[in-house]
């Protein structure tokens, strides 16, 4: 068991937590999200927010905010058919892939990790302090999409290109946009959120655009050849 401290909390107006925090404070939503994503008291207790799910300084509320955004950002959010775009079905993909969602301290090197059951290691997604406190709400949603894609069985398959800010030659890149990997899923979700996201703000959409463009520029061995207009 690790013990960690809440870092200085970034401005919650800017991160979107003061926008989404009140929205998640709804028993029906909490009940549903709790069940659909495999939360359990054991991993969200002891400071992570189980006793105060509406406190948007704590990890549980901040995670639920990402889930709220993921679920209600399409105009017709109830239309989650696979034939639609990822703004619609992203939520369905995430909840179908994530059965065990845990809050952990982490060691500071990652914000989340997907364990897809390989070598008998239990299937789960772990979220760390950086997820709760270094990411704004759209970035948290993107992380869930990214990790869900890993749970779907798609690992990264390439090394970062020479120009990448993630480190030239390091592993962890996707070979191309068409590989349909976790980077593509996350970037495409943010892109749609930027282009057509509802129940949100212009500033959060712009932040999503910046993040998606960064992924497009840096996370593929072959640059996709486009940028977000």
């Amino acid at each position: 068991m690790a013990t960690c401290s809440i870092p200085t909390i970034p401005n919650k107006d800017v991160s979107g937590d003061n926008l989404y925090g009140p929205r998640i404070c709804n028993q029906a939503f909490i009940d549903w999200a709790w069940s659909a994503h495999g939360f359990s008291k054991k991993y969200w207790d002891d400071g992570f927010g189980y006793d105060a799910p509406c406190n948007n300084s704590l990890p549980l509320s901040r995670t639920l905010s990402g889930i709220w955004l993921l679920n209600y950002s399409a105009d017709d959010y109830w239309n989650e058919q696979w034939s639609n775009n990822i703004l619609h079905w992203g939520r369905r993909y995430v909840r179908n892939q994530i059965d065990d969602l845990r809050a952990k301290c982490g060691d500071g090197s990652a914000i989340a990790t997907a364990f897809s059951g390989f070598l008998g290691i239990g299937r789960r997604v772990e979220l760390y302090l950086g997820f709760f406190y270094s990411s704004n709400v759209p970035a948290r949603a993107e992380t869930l999409v990214h990790e869900a894609r890993h749970m779907g069985g798609k690992s990264h398959n390439a090394r970062f290109p020479s120009w990448s800010a993630y480190g030239s030659g390091r592993s962890g890149a996707d070979s191309s946009w068409g590989y349909n990997g976790a980077w593509m899923y996350g970037a495409l979700y943010l892109w749609w959120f930027y282009a057509d996201g509802r129940r949100t703000t212009s500033a959060l959409r712009q932040s999503a655009r910046q993040r998606a463009n960064f992924v497009i520029d840096n996370a593929f061995a072959t640059h996709p050849g486009f940028t977000i207009a």
């Binding site: 401290s5 809440i6 200085t8 549903w32 659909a36 179908n96 892939q97 486009f226």
Partner: protein
């Protein structure tokens, strides 16, 4: 991040962690202009029927004293913790929204400040360089906005950004330059400033997401357990009810009424 192949977690895998309260935040006294900036940040993501009106008022209050606001934003960002990426991003975005040439020196300085070396041991999982870059490309977009208004200094600044090592800063600057009036005529000058291996940036197309390659069959991308998962769909928002049974009963889900701190 997918570490199923690279990192086992050993016998501690099921252990729960503990999170302790952090230190109190120190409150600083702001100048009247600083208050206007802070007020802007407080409505940047506001909701409600009057959100747009409040936003317009707040941005108008900053623009009324644009030069002072730009200076104050610079001071405030300087006072931010380095790792307060969200707060720093908000301030850079505020400077961009001034739409005033007085913001140019600050925006330029943000972009031209060298990105500190990566602090993360696993940048794929979390990258300080990524966060720093996103702050800077937001500043580039602020300069692009000024360049689009025809400010020659902003155009010159964009050319200066082509010397920065970050591919994302260069990409944003190239796109900005090509989009100014008669930007296509700048193509030769841009090309001359880029290394041969970076000239692909001139061929990058701005794209609407509707024209991007999508995921044809996401259902096929599910794992076997994901395909057979039978989970309740999302509850309806107030105003749209009764279409789908979204009731879910979390055995031990927490009570919503507790811990409100918004």
């Amino acid at each position: 991040m997918d570490q199923t192949l690279s990192r086992g977690t050993g016998p501690e895998v099921d252990a729960a962690d503990s999170l302790q309260p952090g230190r109190e935040t120190i409150r600083v006294v702001l100048s009247p202009i600083g208050q206007r900036v802070l007020n802007y940040l407080s409505v940047i993501n506001a909701s409600g029927d009057d959100a747009e009106e409040r936003y317009k008022e707040a941005v108008g209050a900053m623009r009324e004293f644009a030069a002072d606001a730009a200076a104050e934003i610079a001071r405030m960002e300087c006072g931010c913790r380095v790792r307060d990426y969200s707060g720093r991003w908000g301030l850079v975005y505020a400077a961009s929204e001034l739409h005033h040439p007085a913001a140019l020196p600050y925006l330029r300085s943000v972009v031209m400040t060298p990105i500190p070396p990566e602090e993360s041991a696993d940048p794929h999982g979390f990258s300080t360089v990524a966060e720093e870059t996103i702050v800077r490309t937001t500043a580039v977009d602020g300069v692009v906005q000024l360049a689009g208004q025809g400010h020659a200094e902003a155009i010159e600044a964009l050319f200066g950004f082509l010397r920065m090592p970050s591919i994302s800063i260069k990409r944003a600057a190239v796109q900005g330059l090509l989009n100014v009036r008669q930007g296509e005529s700048l193509r030769g000058k841009i090309e001359a400033m880029l290394c041969p291996e970076e000239r692909f940036l001139l061929d990058i197309r701005p794209l609407d997401v509707r024209r991007a390659t999508q995921i044809d069959d996401p259902e096929a991308d599910l794992s076997e357990s994901g395909r057979i998962a039978q989970k309740a769909t999302t509850p309806d928002l107030p105003g749209r009810t009764g279409c789908i049974d979204a009731r879910a009963t979390g055995d031990d889900s927490p009570a919503a009424g507790s811990g409100k701190e918004n």
